[in-house]
Symmetry: C2
Subunit: 395 residues, 2 copies
């Protein structure tokens, strides 16, 4: 087990009707003027936005509405948000939505208080924010884990670069998690969410070569098992509160470090996927991950068959083949692939909505390897050529 | 699943040599004068206390030493500490030790800033602290989970009452967890620690009748399995870093709410044990729990055999008896008892160091039931008579 530092200060309010407390909660902290940040029409149509603003009004809290976030949130919209916060004297950002809205809010929070720095510099690691506006959220989609995590992913339309960075400034002050708010998420988006949740843990579990993390492993395995069970239930019964609750809480735990503590953390598949949905912004992140993951697994698993066998036995319920552990490993990957298919997730790039073209693999690998200057460490190191291999295998 | 609120803001620094950073960490927060609180001679003998004070001196931080905490920490010593903090103008308390030292520090932290209130009132729920001195810790014993929890247990020598209460003021600012600092803990204390860690999760897992908490359940089961594996290793090989690390991290997770989220939380066995070690202060908390738990389990399990069967199958590796689940439940309890015995923990009150006398059961039940005015809710409600029954069964 490696040394680690762990701190998740976000206050989680979990359960039915919790979103109605938002005004009271913000009032407790003493904030005066809130930017309410959201996406498209769904939070309006569902009445959620009205419930939120009513709750703020009841507590006499001023607010400014700022919608328009799309999947794969953009730097340009975030820059508009920063300008607005400064003009309006906003002292708190409330994100109402899924991971895209939350990440956009984090980017705005970083940028608002640091007007002298080009915010893209944070994403290309040329600067890091030392302060940010405080922010919190009401989550409407179980997926990214952004509601308690320190990560933030933004797309710069200038070159279609999708990049993320971690910062303590990204930890929300609070996260309001009401599983009922996800009842209306359609099957495809729900499936994408389940995949994304699993990936955050799987990438930690299969991310490197650390040994001796039995407690972290078992927490990770328990989370994966629970998400697969709940994902299958929700696919048939979208208003099943208990299964929605499992997905929602798993989403937070899966990306707040708990499931990888003491382990190296590489995220090769996420990096490969970011190039994909960076180039094809219509590709949902979870669908991209689903299309890549099993091919990536088959590509790297020979380097550590016992690790993949552990996953196969403990999570995918494969019987251990003690003579040929690699067979167990591969059978586990097959079962995971079957699970993705059972919730109608793509398992090949060619299944994705957009017609991904083979000739793009070179471009994506070029970007992902920073023009061939970096390799991605992991169970198997991926240089530019290996990245192309994985994209091809997944096609 | 029930609604819940969850927030564990304590910053954990985990791993080898982390305790040497303590001066730097305290300096970061800007504290000027630290009360270094500890127990007996072991932190002196091991050289740990010197390493801590050296680290403080290096950063130019003033400090006052205040030792003398014994197992089952007393209110009178804590009151001395409050007086000392006020006299010396202390702005931070650093606890160096196990759960007793940490709880004593929490009690001092609450009392110092509230001199007008008798601190025992917090423990009998007649008042609650609205402010406290900030505090942090360097842990030397994996057991109580006090290093990140909001609980604090103190014994009032005036009547031998042992009482605990939860408060946000009890969350440490930081917890420095170096498993190497537990290498010298003897087998008996290590065993007591493993039992205590398991109990914090078991009491949540078996505490009430909540349904539909699959993710919390699997995290709990993973933790229990890991602690049993690590506990057995450490019993034979006390300097096994990885197993000590598992116990240490499990200790924190087991009592910071994670393993019971969404569930009712009753702690019947803890309440019964507090009377025991309240009356016989020489009884180690973990040993008291170990002596009571399996009898308590047998006493209540008929009310929810399937819950106990789940524990038996998933953690104790018992084959499910589908015709008679109660048999599975009981077999699981037997295996747990065997595990306790394998690490030389008592499984009967009559095995405890002190000669516990049968005629005390009435007195203990009288105290635990607040003179017969309260029952303990749970899988099976325990009134005064049922408490006596459990003590008798465990004798």
């Amino acid at each position: 087990m490696n040394n680690f530092e762990y701190c998740v200060p976000t206050r989680v309010l979990f359960g039915r009707d919790t979103h109605k407390q938002v005004g009271t909660v913000i009032k407790e902290y003493g904030f005066k003027k809130v930017l309410v940040h959201y996406g498209g029409g769904s939070v309006k149509k569902s009445g959620l936005l009205d419930q939120v603003t009513d709750s703020l009004k009841e507590q006499g809290i001023e607010f400014v509405l700022f919608g328009g976030v799309k999947p794969n949130p953009t730097l340009s919209l975030a820059k508009e948000g920063m300008e607005l916060c400064r003009q309006e004297g906003i002292d708190f950002i409330l994100a109402v939505g899924g991971g895209s809205v939350l990440d956009s809010a984090k980017c705005i929070a970083d940028g608002t208080l640091n007007p002298e720095i080009d915010p893209w510099k944070y994403f290309i690691k040329e600067a890091s924010p030392d302060k940010a506006l405080p922010h919190g959220n009401i989550l409407t989609l179980s997926a990214s884990g952004s509601e308690t995590s320190l990560s933030c992913v933004i797309t710069n339309e200038d070159g279609n670069y999708k990049r993320g960075f971690n910062s303590k400034t990204h930890r929300p002050l609070f996260a309001i998690l009401n599983p009922e708010l996800t009842f209306s998420v359609n099957k495809f988006q729900t499936g994408c969410g389940s995949v994304d949740i699993m990936m955050h843990t799987l990438e930690r579990y299969l991310g490197g070569n650390t040994k001796d993390t039995p407690l972290t492993d078992r927490i990770a395995e328990g989370l994966l098992t629970s998400v697969m069970e709940a994902g299958a239930i929700v696919d048939k019964d979208p208003k099943n509160y208990e299964a929605r609750a499992t997905l929602m809480w798993a989403g937070s735990l899966s990306h707040n470090d708990l499931t990888g503590l003491g382990r190296e953390f590489m995220m090769q598949v996420h990096q490969l996927e970011h190039e994909l949905s960076g180039l094809y912004p219509c590709i949902a992140h979870g669908a991209g991950l689903s299309a890549l993951f099993c091919s990536w697994s088959r590509y790297v698993c020979e380097k550590d068959p016992m690790r993949f066998a552990q996953l196969a036995v403990r999570v995918m319920k494969v019987e251990m083949d003690f003579e040929e552990p690699l067979k167990t490993a591969l059978k586990g990957i097959d079962r995971l692939e079957e699970f993705f298919q059972s919730i109608k997730m793509p398992v090949r790039l060619s299944e994705l909505d957009d017609a991904v073209r083979e000739e793009d693999f070179e471009v994506m690998a070029e970007k992902c390897s920073f023009n061939g200057t970096r390799s991605l460490p992991g169970i198997r190191t991926l240089g530019k050529q290996e990245m192309i291999d994985v994209y091809r295998m997944a096609y």
